[in-house]
Symmetry: C2
Subunit: 411 residues, 2 copies
Amino acid sequence: MDRYLVISSDCHAGLPPERYREYLDPQYRETFDLALPVQEEMTKLMEKQFLVGDINEEWRQGREHMLEGAWDHSRRNEVLDGDGVAAEVIFPDGITERNMPPFGAGISLPTEGIVPELQWAGARAHNRWLAEFVALEPTRRFGVAVVPALWDIGEAVKEVHWAKENGLGGIMIPVMWGRQSPYHHPKYYPLWETCQELGMVVHFHSGPAPTEDYFGPAPEIGKERDHPAMPGAMGIYISEVAWWNVRPLTFLIWGGIFERYPALKVSITEGTTIWVPEYLQLLDQRYAETHYSAKLGDYRSHLSMKPSEYFARNIALGASCMPRRETEMRHDIGMNNIMWGSDYPHPEGSWPFTREQVTESFIGLPEDEITAMLGGNAIRFYGFDEAKLRPIADRVGPTKQSLRGPNAASE
Amino acid sequence: MDRYLVISSDCHAGLPPERYREYLDPQYRETFDLALPVQEEMTKLMEKQFLVGDINEEWRQGREHMLEGAWDHSRRNEVLDGDGVAAEVIFPDGITERNMPPFGAGISLPTEGIVPELQWAGARAHNRWLAEFVALEPTRRFGVAVVPALWDIGEAVKEVHWAKENGLGGIMIPVMWGRQSPYHHPKYYPLWETCQELGMVVHFHSGPAPTEDYFGPAPEIGKERDHPAMPGAMGIYISEVAWWNVRPLTFLIWGGIFERYPALKVSITEGTTIWVPEYLQLLDQRYAETHYSAKLGDYRSHLSMKPSEYFARNIALGASCMPRRETEMRHDIGMNNIMWGSDYPHPEGSWPFTREQVTESFIGLPEDEITAMLGGNAIRFYGFDEAKLRPIADRVGPTKQSLRGPNAASE
């Protein structure tokens, strides 16, 4: 027990694109064969649009072998051991844009430029593969099924049942709803009810944002942009993207979803945690405000608790690569809601320097709080089997000594 | 000099709808006559949608006479005197939804369901009337022209010149751009250049937000909604609306607009001020972050200053009805950027209890800081003539004694 049990609440896995074929329902394979070269072309264009192709390529150099952990069972265990991570929560999009499920069924789950039926087919293909991947190492791997929930709630409910029956522990639904209904709409009630009943955790994973606003409309395939570069587009993206990821929570809270489904669990993943104190203060203020409420009609009598109370009870934060300044704010953010994550194998994640980054962010904090943020909160929220994970942690986890501050000996 | 010189950075004025006819270019009057009953019907529907019709009606009871200050010269001076306000910045939409310029040329400046040419015609009609209204009392009234800048930059630039020549001091442009280009797009450069050159202040006024997301799609005129009520819609609106109002600033800062136009002045009006510290911290962090920047390409070398430095230099905050908890945060928000406002004649404003609200928010703070927030910052930012306003303030302003804390005598 001299080592921490570390759980990464944010990891990614996915097959090389061509290997999704065999997991697709047969009737979509012909379309898949046609779409595959287009997807590869799109990937290149996207790398070009985001100006990150060369940089990511450089980052991958010499790491190809360990990046195969994105889909390879043994390699993945090697990586996790190396990182000191006992268990993980697995989202799609392995090596970022390189291992996306087909037909727009990756993290961004777009609502434009896709065909809902195909997006569903892609999601099911990924979920089938993921269930196999989790089954190879069920103690260490918590799989998150992709559920394009906007189009057809009946289909979504069916997929939640399938995921549960096949060993997956949660679902990821779209962060942005485009022209579909937002998440306070009553049409989603059966989805929340099913997730509550089956104990399936609902996830919103950061990434989506209105990139057309930032970069301008995407050019047609094979063409150059017909407008000048939009200065600072990436700066806008990284300033707004966390807000878009938190946005569904505003709709769920005011929509009374946690009032109707008090045991529903929602994780906001890789959206930073720095926004939490001001966000909760704002919502609580709006909830309490008699000046507004008197003039705007009744918007709160269906809520028996303050927004911050629903947050404390129903929400957890996938705190990927949590920086030092955020661990120092931990009590304002919510000591019980923070779940550290590594974001392997994404370039913005902590791998292969996880041990160093964890040390920088957590060194010198009280041991029980480190225990909670690095793993304890995730064990409770996701229901990991601590007894089974303990021997793994005892072998690979960071030592408690390594996270004691320089003054610990003299204390 | 024993009274404060108070300037309201956020007031509203507008004609009763039918009286805009004479200010319209003649070729639009026939359309106006057809559209007027539709606008009146829309107003009723909107009040119903927002569930505020009855409440606002009740608020207006017994105040009709003084609410005529929304368009009546003498009445307005009476109201301002009563509020202790020496001068004001005037936006459209007098009694909220009751005095909107025609054809969607009010505060919300929608991009859907309107005809750009007509929106322009409505804006020009309002601007003509406003120029007359300001001319009746030019020392006390700073007029903000409505400029639907999204559609045609040439037209926008012409209108800025017209506004300047006709005694208006700034422009209000849309908070939301719909499917048009956001404000970092180079197409807007001539607009910023003109505003800088003429010293015209650019305003974003709170109000617009994606209400369809909250309330569902608007029903057709005369029909009921074809979907169930969306629970908590108003709670979502009041939790998000300030964010939408600040959003253009993110695009301007990262777009390098304040780098290219270092003397451009922008006011963020009625958007609360509580978001400022975290917002600037986030943007500065993103600006400084080497981890991100290395992997996302160059998004900041066109900025010679930190985002918070542009903010301090180029931005002012129309701090309407600033509550006590925000005046207590004044140093984190920006002591030189805060400009108090009353929001007369809107129901959510401080009128007719402005003196009481000002006392509650400012009592006991240092005299020089009260001076700055209640008027000094606005004098500097907008260029009000302090010498001419002083005699008015000496007659109507709140006494310095009235804002001294209970302990002041013993200090």
